[in-house]
């Protein structure tokens, strides 16, 4: 086994050396360095080459089955691939909600035809997806959504409005929660529909955030006609798929916000910015706040590690995605508050690069709202983990 893995490592290393363009071996510095793919993607030459090479091998999604455009690798092989990419400093060839969100749901709930149609295009970055969940009246109470899909012959006619659709203005397709059974109890009337954003009747408009521009849009559906075959899973059972995806998303947000790889700790930045007075930070009260934050941040990092290690060891870890989402995002907000204090008046600047810190701070305030508010996650912990009674 170890021999086979070693062979795979040698082979992979050689292939990466040969196929990863030099430009793709530098750190991601700006938004445009991230490759999202899609029909209208504007990729640089090296980005295109790197995406095509990796897509052809299915290594954008190493563990998906080869039949669906994946790499068909084992867990251990995928780890080898990841470590070899890290070794090279290779960028991720493709960022994609299709990979992170829709893909796993498609693999679990999609029909064979749907898998064959959509997964390979996701793997190769040909189609860019967005997520149609929240509505103006249905935020935390997502299941009260009202976007309707009425069957008319072999098509659904979709009407309604979504908000917080990330990159809706750039996406090719949408996976969308719609109400197909208006008279059913609210969780039972929801279905999961896939459709082309180029369909007549779809319009989008961007949402401006307090931090400036934003990836979020409002999306309007006006008599959009969607083939009934684009229904994923059973009609009326979309809520199960939604919950599956939300759990997935929460873990991702909690972990991502918290441990954006290799970044400096608040204390390192503070020591650099404020300087030391003797052996200790020059601001005694801020130092107290920073050390408390770092104790929590460190203990939280260890908890993420422990959860992973327990999962690997096959030990049940409970429904901990809500804990990671809640605590991780609250910590990230706290980190940004502290960084604002560390920077003093410098961090109040708003325009150009000088405004990076204030925008990061403002952006972080959304962490505890998007993908399930802190309050919703505390509700979930109280009910599912602690089994406290309902009101």
């Amino acid at each position: 086994m170890s021999d086979t893995l070693d062979a795979f490592r040698i082979e992979t290393r050689a292939w990466l050396e040969a196929n990863c363009p030099a430009e793709m071996r530098t750190p991601v510095a700006r938004d445009s360095d991230v490759c999202w793919g899609g029909r209208n993607a504007k990729l640089s030459g090296p980005q295109r080459a790197w995406l095509d090479a990796m897509g052809a091998k299915g290594w954008t999604v190493p563990e998906w089955p080869a039949a669906y455009g994946g790499g068909g690798l084992s867990k251990d092989e995928a780890k080898v691939l990841a470590s070899e990419m890290r070794r090279l400093g290779a960028r991720s060839p493709l960022s994609s909600f299709g990979i992170w969100m829709l893909g796993p749901a498609l693999l679990k709930y999609g029909s064979e035809a749907q898998k064959l149609e959509h997964l390979p295009k996701i793997a190769r970055g040909e189609i860019r997806w967005c997520q149609g969940y929240s509505e103006p009246g249905a935020g935390s109470d997502l299941a009260s959504l009202r976007t309707s899909a009425v069957l008319d012959g072999d098509e659904y006619v979709v009407n309604g409005q979504k908000v917080w659709t990330s990159y809706a203005d750039k996406a090719d397709w949408i996976f969308c929660l719609v109400r197909t059974h208006p008279d059913a109890p609210k969780h039972l009337g929801i279905s999961f529909l896939l459709f082309d954003m180029a369909s007549p009747g779809v319009t989008t408009s961007p949402i401006r955030l307090i931090s400036g521009a934003s990836p979020f849009c409002q999306t309007f559906f006006d008599d959009v006609r969607v083939p009934a075959a684009n229904l994923m899973g059973e009609a009326g059972k979309g809520w199960d798929i939604a919950k599956y995806l939300l759990t997935h998303e929460r873990e991702m947000i909690g972990a991502m916000d918290f441990s954006a790889g290799g970044r400096d700790s608040v204390s390192q930045i503070a020591a650099r910015t404020i300087g030391l007075d003797g052996e200790v930070l020059g601001d005694p009260i801020l130092r107290t706040d920073i050390v408390r934050h770092e104790i929590d941040a460190w203990a939280f990092g260890l908890t993420m590690e422990r959860v992973k290690d327990q999962a690997k060891a096959g030990q049940g870890v409970g429904a901990l995605s809500s804990m990671l989402k809640y605590y991780g995002t609250e910590l990230n907000k706290q980190r940004q508050e502290l960084l604002m204090s560390v920077g003093g008046s410098d961090s109040l600047q708003w325009e150009g690069d000088d405004g990076d810190q204030s925008r990061s701070w403002l952006r972080s305030r959304a962490n505890s709202i998007e993908g399930g508010t802190s309050e919703i996650n505390l509700n979930i912990i109280a009910k599912r983990v602690l089994q406290l009674p309902g009101a």
């Binding site: 929240s134 009246g137 935020g139 935390s140 109470d141 009260s144 908000v163 917080w164 949402i207 401006r208 955030l209 307090i210 931090s211 910015t273 404020i274 601001d283 005694p284 009260i285 801020l286 706040d289 508050e337 604002m340 204090s341 920077g343 003093g344 008046s345 410098d346 961090s347 109040l348 600047q349 708003w350 325009e351 000088d354 405004g355 204030s358 701070w361 403002l362 305030r365 959304a366 505890s368 709202i369 998007e370 508010t373 802190s374 309050e375 505390l378």
Partner: protein, 373 residues
């Protein structure tokens, strides 16, 4: 002194509330922001504020002002905080007026105070040199030169520096810190505007061999440190009042929203977890109000303990405004993050005003030292 407003003060509060609500509400703030003009505030509004007596709130009646004192000034700033009003009130009517009243010669007072009250001259305090407030850490030098001084140095975070006619500059002289009145258009003064997260304007001011006259010394040579502390305390107390306005408006807006927004078939204000947080916040806003009123009264009475009350107020009001606006955004949920709603503006202003002239950490440390620990 009783911790209540006098009848006169209650009238000033009502007048200020009405004026800013009508003439300079958050919608006016938004319009100014979107217009991106070079001044950053509405000069016509400033004229009206002068007519209302707000510009001269601290200017004695003998010099054409209203002479109403700090409690009144705080009430005006509180209304400014509620309405996010952009104006040179803090830099000119509070900082410069208290500088001249406390440290000006008879000639300086006679020349400048009427111009403050009438709104015709704008000032800016050029004191800070570091991103983190450290008022006595002054590296700018004033060397004797001719019958005056030559100034060299760099100032940061100079509020309204981009429009000021006159700068109040803190510089180091042989015997300590000295303040100077400097013409903003004098040779050697370079000013670069910076727009802040709350749309207020600060400037970097560079002084290169700027020649000032002996008559431009404010508060005596070497007497700048104590005077600077008095000016800053005036500004801090009024900022506490503005932060109180920010807190109160954030709180009121959020409570209204809790009564309207429905999720899970209920008003979200019926959820006990939010109720308890709102109730706690109510208490905190009341505490900030008490501390702020006491600080303003202490300044009016010239109490020895005024610096302690000021630091208490600035620390508490700053923390509460941060809490109130953060809770406001969180309880508004997604829409609270959008530029369409005002609550985000209050969060930005809470952060910036909280930072200005020392954050809660700075004032906590100062308070502890003043109390001997």
């Amino acid at each position: 002194m009783a911790l209540v407003l006098t009848e006169e003060q209650a009238m000033i509060r009502d007048a200020a509330d009405g004026f800013f609500r009508d003439a300079a509400p958050p919608a006016a703030f938004r319009k100014l922001r979107d217009a991106k003009d070079a001044t950053g505030f509405d000069r016509d509004l400033w004229r009206q504020m002068a007519e209302q007596g707000f510009a001269g709130v601290l200017v004695p009646e003998a010099h054409g002002g209203a002479g109403l004192g700090f409690v009144a000034a705080g009430l005006i700033q509180e209304a400014v905080g509620r309405n996010l009003t952009l104006s040179p009130l803090l830099s000119t009517a509070i900082l410069a007026a208290s500088a001249l009243v406390a440290g000006g010669t008879e000639e300086q007072r006679a020349q400048y105070l009427p111009q403050i009250a009438s709104g015709e001259r704008l000032f800016a305090l050029a004191a800070d040199e570091q991103a983190r407030h450290a008022p006595h850490a002054i590296a700018t030098t004033a060397e004797a030169s001719g019958n005056g001084f030559k100034l060299n140095g760099c100032k940061t975070f100079v509020l309204d520096g981009h429009v000021a006619d006159t700068l109040i500059v803190a510089a180091r002289t042989d015997d300590g810190i000295t303040l100077f009145l400097v013409d903003a258009k004098a040779p050697g003064v370079a000013t670069e505007r910076t727009i802040m997260v709350d749309q207020r304007n600060a400037a970097e001011v560079t002084l290169t061999d700027v020649q000032v006259d002996g008559a431009d010394v404010l508060g005596g040579v070497g007497g700048g440190a104590a005077l600077l502390d008095r000016i800053l305390d005036a500004g801090r107390a009024c900022l506490a009042a503005e932060l109180l306005g920010v807190s109160q408006q954030s709180f009121d807006t959020t409570i209204d929203y809790l009564k309207q927004r429905e999720q899970f078939g209920q008003k979200i204000g019926s959820f006990q977890a939010l109720q308890h947080r709102a109730a706690h916040l109510f208490c905190e806003v009341e505490l900030a109000r008490s501390a702020t009123l006491r600080a303003l009264q202490a300044l009016d009475a010239g109490e020895d303990r005024a610096p302690m009350f000021v630091s208490l107020a600035k620390a508490k009001a700053g923390d509460v405004a941060k809490l109130a606006s953060n809770e406001g955004v969180q309880m508004h949920g997604g829409i609270g993050m959008t530029d369409d709603y005002d609550i985000g503006f209050y969060m930005k202003r809470a952060r910036a005003a909280g930072e200005t002239f020392g954050d809660a950490g700075f004032h906590g440390d100062r308070l502890a030292r003043l109390m001997g620990y």
